[in-house]
């Protein structure tokens, strides 16, 4: 038996440019910051390190709430220079967040919507799914998934931040040193026009998997790496494969190893090939080797333009805490997942949306500082879940030789015969909005994401839940379903006048009469069903990140308690 030979390799979960023409990316100018102009160290409430999809989402979410922040990025562009293609698949929850940030339409116009996935083993199709047939995606105004190159989203975020203001985007600014005390952190920044120090009340490390902040803060983590190797080819064809997600567990044209096939924007296809364990990165990504591989899959007659090629190995890693003093970790600095199921970038976006409203609430004096602790409760739970789920996928796709491979063979053979075994075939479990079970600020019915449901302002004028969240402007959104008694209305009025950061909307259905100026119509009961099916007369408290804080059956003291809990009060 051929035992895998383990050798030390350089681990990366990123893509390094090797061959191909790549894309032309935007370049942003370096602007002398006030610290250099006035030769003075300034204190900022929020400093974000890293302008990838996570850091930019946080910056944009803060800008959207009118919160000032500084973002430091060592590069002067989006994507990674030369290697301009990273994440490709964005979930409904991420798309809902991007809708809130005003860039969803651009993503939808540029990207590719897909809903059909097929999985093959050898020449047989093992199973297929159509997400459009799955009711759990149907309540939202956003589709189940859109595929688009990550740098497009990053570019749209940059433009959105520039339009909103409030956030100072500082390019070509590399953090070289860091220290913190009880009251503030100090970062030493290096730029083309000199070095300077910057002080921060809150530092958000979104600088990616090679972050120096792990060492600087002494945060501990748990880490695993394997011998699985892949090679990506981003290509264009003169023929058009179907707009479907195709995955081969065992591809006859790839020596019975796995292959992924996905469409992105600009008619570019992402083809991921699983390589031999411990394969040599330079060899597998050489252009002639890549071309030969593509020919085996698509035939000699298909003309292929290689846009970009990158070999990769991966590891998975999860911090034991997402906060060290004044530093918050998010995206790939919080955890690194095995690259399956689109669980990397999408969870970075969710990290950012989770912390943004909490920072805003604390900085505006709406919430207690302890609210920030709930970021760790919620996003560490999500990180651990995503690491666990993607490790299971990796174990299916690269089973240990011997008994693990034998079990996989048995599973695949059964899956070809019987529906039940198809659920054991694991080519990646697509990312979802993670549920928060252990959060200090969620009630028993809370901790779940509410989809961006369509509502009616008045007959003929429609909107969506996101419009209500935007109107609430970083405050909690209290939805009260159906007609209320006089006593309940009085209590709601008192709550509105209490000074707590909450805005109230009455949600009406067929036959109801409006009792408040702020009311919307939910005639099909979609919003009610998205809010854990709260009964008429009851309430749902929704946070600015679209998560349910809690629900209740009556307007009473429990509601006031839920509002206070959600704000860490």
């Amino acid at each position: 038996m051929n035992t895998p030979h383990f050798k030390e390799v350089q681990f990366t979960n990123g893509y390094e440019f090797t061959e191909g023409t790549g894309y032309t990316l935007p370049e942003y100018p370096f602007v002398r910051p006030p610290e250099l102009v006035h030769n003075k160290t300034l204190r900022h409430a929020v400093v974000i390190v890293g302008g990838g999809i996570t850091g930019l989402t946080l910056a944009c979410a803060l800008a959207n709430l009118g919160i000032k922040a500084v973002l430091l990025d060592e590069d002067n562009t989006v994507g990674v220079k030369g290697a301009s293609s990273r994440g490709i698949c964005y979930t409904q929850k991420s798309l809902e967040i991007f809708h809130k940030l005003g860039i969803f339409d651009r993503i939808a116009n540029k990207g590719i919507q897909w809903s059909v996935g097929r999985t093959f083993a050898g020449d047989d199709e093992v199973y297929n799914f159509d997400l459009k047939q799955q009711s759990n995606f149907s309540l939202s105004e956003q589709p189940a998934f859109i595929n688009i190159q990550q740098f497009y989203i990053e570019g749209y975020l940059v433009e959105s931040i520039q339009a909103l203001g409030h956030v100072d985007l500082r390019w070509q600014s590399r953090v070289k040193a860091f220290k913190q005390n009880k009251d503030f952190a100090t970062l030493s920044v290096e730029t083309p026009e000199g070095a300077y120090d910057i002080q921060a009340d809150h530092v958000i490390d979104a600088s990616g998997s090679h972050t120096p902040f792990h060492a600087w803060t002494g945060v501990t983590m748990e880490s695993k790496k394997g011998d699985d190797r892949w090679c990506i080819a981003d290509v264009r064809f003169d023929t058009r494969p179907p707009t479907e997600r195709h995955t081969w567990i065992e591809a006859p044209f790839n020596e019975n190893r796995a292959v992924w096939q996905h469409l992105m924007a600009d008619d570019v296809w992402r083809i991921d090939y699983q390589m031999e364990p411990n394969a040599d990165a330079a060899y597998i990504s050489r252009e002639d080797v890549v071309r030969e591989r593509l020919e085996r899959q698509f035939g000699k007659n298909v003309k292929v333009d290689i846009v970009w090629v990158g070999p990769y190995a991966y590891k998975s890693q999860c911090l034991n805490t997402l906060r060290m003093g004044r530093v918050f970790f998010m995206g790939d600095t919080a955890k690194i997942v095995n690259p399956f199921g689109a669980r990397g970038g999408n969870t970075g976006v969710a990290d950012a949306d989770n912390l943004a409203w909490k920072l805003a609430a604390v900085l505006r004096g709406h919430a207690d500082e302890t609210l920030l602790e709930s970021y760790n409760d919620e996003r560490l739970e999500a990180a651990q879940e995503n690491v666990k789920v993607t490790r299971r996928t990796a174990r299916f796709l690269r089973p240990a030789d011997g008994i693990e491979r034998a079990f996989r063979n048995a599973t695949i053979s059964l899956a070809k015969q019987y529906p039940f075994a198809r659920s054991l075939v694991n080519t990646g479990r697509m990312a979802v909005a993670n549920t928060y079970r252990g959060s200090r600020i969620c009630g028993d019915n809370g901790g779940v994401s509410v989809q961006n449901v369509k509502i009616q302002w008045r007959p003929g004028k429609t909107g969506a839940l996101n419009d209500l969240l935007q109107w609430a402007d970083g405050r909690l959104l209290l939805l009260v379903f159906g007609e209320q008694t006089k006593a309940s209305l009085k209590r709601l009025q008192e709550l509105s006048l209490s000074g707590l950061a909450v805005r109230c909307v009455q949600v009406l259905t067929q036959g109801d009469h409006a009792q408040a100026r702020e009311h919307v119509w939910d005639k099909q009961g979609r919003l009610q069903s998205a809010c854990a099916a709260v009964p008429a007369g009851g309430w749902a408290l929704i946070r600015p990140d679209g998560y349910l804080a809690d629900t209740g059956k009556a307007i009473n003291g429990e509601l006031v308690g839920a509002v206070a809990t959600s704000l860490g009060l």
């Binding site: 063979n409 048995a410 075994a421």
Partner: protein, 59 residues
């Protein structure tokens, strides 16, 4: 997890199990066992029972 007899016909089941393996080499026998484990697990379904069975089989 049941530890008292639940099989309707224990001797017949045991005989069928042995017969199924007759004439198979080690690898084919292993595949048969694995397919059988997965088929039976799906009949059980209950996560706690399956966990207890795996733990009990180890000891």
């Amino acid at each position: 997890m049941k530890t008292e007899l639940n099989l309707q016909d224990a001797d017949t089941f045991y005989e069928q199990l042995l017969n199924a393996h007759e004439g198979l080499n080690a690898q084919a026998s292993e595949q048969l066992n694995m397919r059988l484990i997965l088929l039976l697990a799906n009949q059980v379904g209950d996560a706690a029972v399956l966990r207890d069975c795996i733990e009990s089989a180890k000891n």
